[in-house]
Symmetry: C2
Subunit: 138 residues, 2 copies
DNA sequence: TGTTTCATGCAACGGAAGTGCAATTATTGC
DNA sequence: GCAATAATTGCACTTCCGTTGCATGAAACA
């Protein structure tokens, strides 16, 4: 039983062949992945399977969904021990307008914001747009 | 010539009847408006006209686009004198998970973030999700 | 082994964004 | 005012993404 299988079981999802492949794919990518990206990477697999796998992973806190302002949902693996919903684990994301890739900046947490009376915060999403290190470096 | 017509002309768009109506609609709403909302409000007008008007307004800095994580683009009037792209005018948005409305919190600016080397920030989007004052008050 | 539960694949739907083109309206120059 | 030009609006259509229903297949369980 591999590490990935253990991880999946610990999170409460059955480690099927497909899911292990998808997990591996997400693990080796350093950028957030859209459903379309997965379709291209797994041309044999069905769209729905990929979709539902991502949803399952999200539900079980294996990945977190990222909304980078492109109106396309993307996903990235959670850090070990991350509890996505907790304020201390909410990190910001960077979207490069040049290469169109989105990355997690996990070490940059979203600062706490004091809201007006009556507003109750439950989640937060901060996306910085600009040019990423790879694109600006050249 | 009304104030709205002057505003539109100053921003470089011809103040047609349709555009004045749309501007008024946006002005009297306190929440961010999606294209679908406009369709319902202006059942006589064509979707494309509304769509393109919003795009024109956005281009001319009359409205700013808001991405609240619902994967539906919404729009709200810019504050007078606002230059949406400038860091000092980037305010945060609040999306209520109960009533599904999104509001600008213009007095709450997005805090400056120090990015890793090589990353160049050009824009930022911060959305807090939770329960708004109207929904939590009851 | 038979039953149940879960995962996968196929087909289709619906919503939203976007585009091409024709028709209409406004603006400009004469 | 009138023709020529440019901008705006409306209609039809396409594309893309997210999502769901249903049938099949594989795994777990009794």
């Amino acid at each position: 039983m591999t590490d990935i299988e253990k991880t999946l079981e610990n999170k409460g999802v059955r480690p099927t062949a497909m899911r292990i492949l998808i997990y591996k794919y997400l693990a080796e990518k350093e950028v957030a992945i859209a459903l379309t990206d997965m379709e291209n990477a797994f041309s044999k697999a069905d769209r729905t399977t990929l979709y539902r796998t991502l949803k399952t992973f999200e539900e079980k806190r294996i990945v977190h969904q990222i909304d980078d302002g492109t109106n396309i949902s993307k996903y990235a693996l959670c850090e070990p021990g991350c509890n996505c919903e907790m304020e201390q684990d909410l990190h910001l994301h960077f979207h490069c307008d040049n290469c169109d890739e989105t990355v997690c900046l996990t070490e940059h947490k979203i600062p706490h914001i004091n809201l007006p009376d009556g507003y109750v915060a439950e989640n937060a999403n901060l996306v910085i747009k600009g040019i990423c290190d790879k694109c600006s470096g050249q």
